[in-house]
Amino acid sequence: MKELREVIRLVVLEKRDIVLSIVFGFLAGMSAVGLFGASGYLISRAALIPPLYALTVLIAFLKLFGFARALGRYAERYFSHRATFTILSNLRLAFYKKIEPHAPRVFQKYRSGDLLSRIVGDVESLQNFFLRVYYPPVVLVIIFLGTIVFTSIFSISVALVLLLGLIVTGLMIPAWYTVRQRKLTPRVRHARGVVSTEAAEWLYGFRDLKIYQQLEEKKETLQQSSDDYIREDERNSRQMLSSHSWNTFATLLVSWVVTGLGAFLVAEGDLNGLFLAMLVMISLTVFENAAPMAVLPSHLDDSKQASERLFSIVEEDNRGSDTYKIDGELAPSFQLTNVSYRFPNEEREALTGVNVTIPSGSKTAIVGASGSGKSTLLQLFMKFQLPSEGEFMLNGMDITDISEESIWENSNVVLQENHYFYGTIRENLQLAGQDLTDEEMNLVLEEVGLDFDLDQPVFEKGENLSGGERQRLSIARAFLKGKRVWLLDEPTSSVDALTERRIFNSLYERASQDTVVLISHRLSGLEKMDQIIVMAEGKVVEAGSYDNLMQKQGYFYEMKQIEKNIFST
């Protein structure tokens, strides 16, 4: 259960709703037992023809139990679901608090894009933990204890049979299936993963497969694994069904024993025959409450898996210390000596032996083909990653000892993928500073060539903006932040050439005294840069000013020739 410790801690925070759920669950369950028990007694009583008023009282009881049960069930559902969603909120919050300090690093580590939706899915699936795993057994046990105590007034042995029934249906059968479920679930999940990968491959690689005459073959493999998955899933459903069936049979068997035992006791004269029908009805009803136990194993297993995945994402990672802060007034300098970096679980180094010097206030461009390590290098500048080897000095201090927050706080960053929030343009710009005036914001928007109203809505992830508009909005945010170092990763790749030039003119004006590191997708317009760093396969192959590199006729020169050669259509 240690996987779930954290989750349980969050669940028990909602004491009030939990107690209410349990109380009303108990009330509903007990009323049902009372209702059916009483009706059994009523009918027996009626058979012996007692005075009418006794019957009236009993019937009144019957109605009372009936309403109590219906209302109890309603209240139980209401409170347990409310607790569940409050817990879900707590879970989200707790998880956010946990992941927040590790944020960019963890995300870079898992480079797959679906990590986040998986996290959200896992958090979501934990909502079942309280609703289907945590409190139903509690309610079940209390109802049974109540019933058993009541029954023991009439017959100790019948009470014992009920107790035995509780142990079998509430404990033994679920436990047995929990163990079996553990073997089955990973197989289903695995089979589903295989199909999903193959389906994606088949559809995304459709054209290549068609040309290479592999489409039919792969189609068959896909259908094969789909069949495997369906088969595994079927086994899983059958297992649930058999868990359910055995549970039902056990409960019916208990009622059978109660009937037989009761009949025997009555025949022997140890039990008043008047109560026999009541006991039979009670035993038939009380096990209705054991039904949720049949689905408990699979939910328990799901919760465990989800919890384990969630809390293992944020294992301790190396992020150095927070000893120093950088001075926001100064334009920083960077000095990289023999820096190498390798992504976790990857064989090849993304960066190898990088030596770069960036003086304070200088302008540097990094160029290279896709996959040459440009963006990875920029990540080191932001301390998203620490070098695997080598020395990275910022303002003459080892970056390992500099607080990452102070780096972020003091830099204007535009990444390739920037985030925009659901809200207005104003809200998205105000990220750069709460006390920005509309005037300032409008000015910057104009500078980046955006004719936006500040109240204009921005949809989730900026879906209603074009790629170029999004990039320019990001640049506007960076302009508004106005710190002394600029770290820009292909900030204008989707912006037309004319606007791009305007934006860069603005940038150079604003950043005339600042340190600028710009990853550029184009080789043009770099004449003004103090230095151009050319990267290939994770290494720096050339560095120097534009004129320098062009005279040298080396790597950069050749790249330039190719770029000239390419038609931009």
Partner: protein, 575 residues
């Protein structure tokens, strides 16, 4: 939905099995009640000895076992039915996609298609495994109980007949009354539920702006908003089940009251009958209530079912290949005769005519959206012209056997797809499947990727694709070249990358194409000036029309658009 129920009832055997098990479940429910009542009656009123009721106890045990067994069988049939349906749908959808011409599959949405294939198919499970069996049970079991009750005591039966319709009636009334409200809430729900993901995705940005801490409150308030909206929706569901509970409770109470009074006051029913009815009545209402919840499961599947039906009913244009053999020695002479291609948005190509001689190097040039890729697909035989003919040796391309053609053609796209498997497997996919290790290595050598492969710990056995490590754009391009070298095609279709690759790849690409040109016709969607200059023939496209055809020099002289394009390019350091 219609699709689903038709499928569910298509197999008579399964249907009969469901009906049979439902009848048996009904019978055991009645039997079980009978035995319980008989035992209590004999012991309590008959004051018989324990030994005398032993046969009854045995009977009860048998009935209970039977009830479990038949319920299990019923459930199992449902599960089998669900598996069968899922298999049927997934197979049909895969078949459907497989038949589609590539053009349609390239119209994107591969992600959506994966989701239809995985999620939608999985979502119909509940319809078959629980809704259908429950529906059949609901049609049979209450009726059986009703008949038995009528034989025992007409008035109780009448109460049941009168009260039962209230259950579906109330369900419908509540459904109608709350529909609008739930829709409103659902909208709210969608906004709230996206918030958490939105925040997580924006965490990097938030951190860079030092705003990540403040988001906690945002998350909390949106989570609680989500909770409150969800509760509004759920309350409706709970109230409706509360009403159902009340109805069944009231009805059972009514029946109990009625028989108790008859038992006491009029003495017109026996204890046996009274008790029997009292036990049967809850079972009657329980089956009706169960159907209510199964009904929701069934409804849940309708969205998925609609998606799948939509996908299955999409129009398709099947490409029918012939069985002509293709002469293997030389590259074929290709001809385009008045080729047009249109799709729902309009014409992509109109009336293209051109001849491509064996060993020609052809460059297709034009602005984006001019129809270059479409032309390449038509030449590849991946899509069928809406009118006109792509001809090979003076016969339609589609007269030849599919295998004959595809084993002679290679297609190198801008973003070659890596399949999950080893590097060796990814190279070998180009060939005919009987290549030695040496041949694969030689192809890798010629494509300039052997060095990189050698530097990897597992060499040619390094896994790539989904599960394995990624390759850079340039490396993928070279791997695609290796595929081509291995295949030795006589026609190569090449979609030249629009952005610069690393120098090494650029050089290799250029050299390789020159080498491949010795043995093949090469048709390139060209983005590089050198490719265009050395082409034997340039096809200049503009918005689906062929506006120029000839060599670089010829086009420079005769076609204004071409001249403009090249001038802009050469002075093109505008950015």
């Amino acid at each position: 939905m219609k699709h689903l129920s038709r499928l569910a009832f298509s197999d008579r055997k399964v249907f009969m099995l469901l009906v049979l098990t439902s009848v048996l479940i009904g019978a055991t429910i009645i039997g079980q009640s009978y035995f319980f009542v008989a035992i209590v009656d004999r012991i309590f009123l008959g004051e018989e000895r324990f030994q005398d009721i032993l046969p009854l106890l045995a009977g009860l045990l048998a009935v209970l076992a039977g009830r479990t067994l038949f319920t299990w069988m019923n459930g199992r049939t449902g599960i089998t039915l669900a598996s069968k349906a899922k298999r049927y749908y997934r197979q049909s959808i895969i078949e459907k996609y497989a038949r589609n011409p590539v053009q349609a599959s390239l119209q994107g949405q591969s992600g959506r298609k994966v989701s239809v294939l995985m999620d939608s198919v999985d979502e119909i499970d509940g319809y078959f495994s629980s809704y259908i069996p429950q529906m059949i049970q609901t049609m049979i079991i209450p009726l059986m109980i009703l008949i038995v009750v009528f034989t025992q005591h007409i008035y109780s039966g009448l109460i049941m007949v009168i009260t039962a319709p209230f259950i579906p009636l109330f369900m419908a009334i509540i459904g109608v009354m709350t529909k609008k409200k739930s829709e409103e809430q659902m909208e709210k729900l969608n906004t709230f539920s996206g918030k958490f993901l939105d925040t997580l995705q924006g965490l990097t940005t938030l951190k860079l702006f030092g705003r990540s801490k403040q988001q906690k409150e945002e998350i909390e308030s949106s989570s609680l908003g989500f909770r409150d909206a969800t509760m509004e929706v759920l309350k409706v569901a709970f109230v409706s089940s509360l009403m159902l509970e009340f109805i069944s409770m009231l009805s059972i109470g009514l029946i109990a009251l009625e028989i108790a009074i008859r038992l006491v006051v009029y003495e017109s029913v026996s204890f046996f009958t009274a008790f029997f009815i009292l036990i049967l009545a809850p079972e009657f209402y329980l089956t009706l209530k169960d159907f209510g919840s199964a009904f929701h499961t069934g409804r849940g599947a309708s969205g998925a079912a609609n998606l799948m039906t939509e996908e299955l009913e999409k129009e398709e244009e099947h490409i029918q290949w012939g069985d002509e053999k293709l002469e293997a020695e030389h590259p074929p002479a290709l001809e385009l005769d008045q080729v047009s291609f249109s799709y729902d948005k309009g014409f992509a190509l109109e009336g293209l005519t051109a001849t491509i001689k064996p060993y020609d190097q052809v460059a297709i040039v034009g602005k984006s959206g001019a129809g270059k890729s479409t032309l390449l697909h038509l030449l590849a035989g991946l899509a069928k012209p809406s009118s006109g003919v792509v001809a090979l040796h003076n016969r339609s391309l589609f007269d030849y056997a599919e295998r004959e053609w595809f084993s002679r053609v290679s297609y190198i796209s801008q973003h070659p797809y890596l399949f999950s498997g080893t590097i060796a497997e990814n190279i070998a996919i180009g060939g005919r499947g009987d290549h030695s290790k040496e041949e694969i290595q030689e192809a890798a050598e010629r494509a300039g990727i052997a060095e990189l492969i050698a530097s990897l710990e597992k060499g040619y056995d390094t896994p790539v694709g989904e599960a394995g490590r990624g390759l850079s754009g340039g490396e993928k391009q070279r791997l695609a070249l290796a595929r081509t070298f291995l295949k030795k095609p006589s026609v190569i279709l090449f979609d030249e990358p629009t952005t610069g690759l690393d120098l090494k790849t650029e050089r290799i690409l250029q050299a390789s194409m020159e080498e491949l040109a010795k043995t093949a016709t090469i048709i390139t969607v060209a983005h590089r000036l050198h490719t265009i200059k050395k082409a034997d023939q340039i096809l200049l496209l503009d918005r689906g029309h062929l506006i120029g055809i000839g060599t670089h020099e010829e086009l420079l002289e005769t076609v204004k658009e071409y001249r403009d394009m090249v001038t802009v390019q050469q002075g093109g350091d505008s950015a």
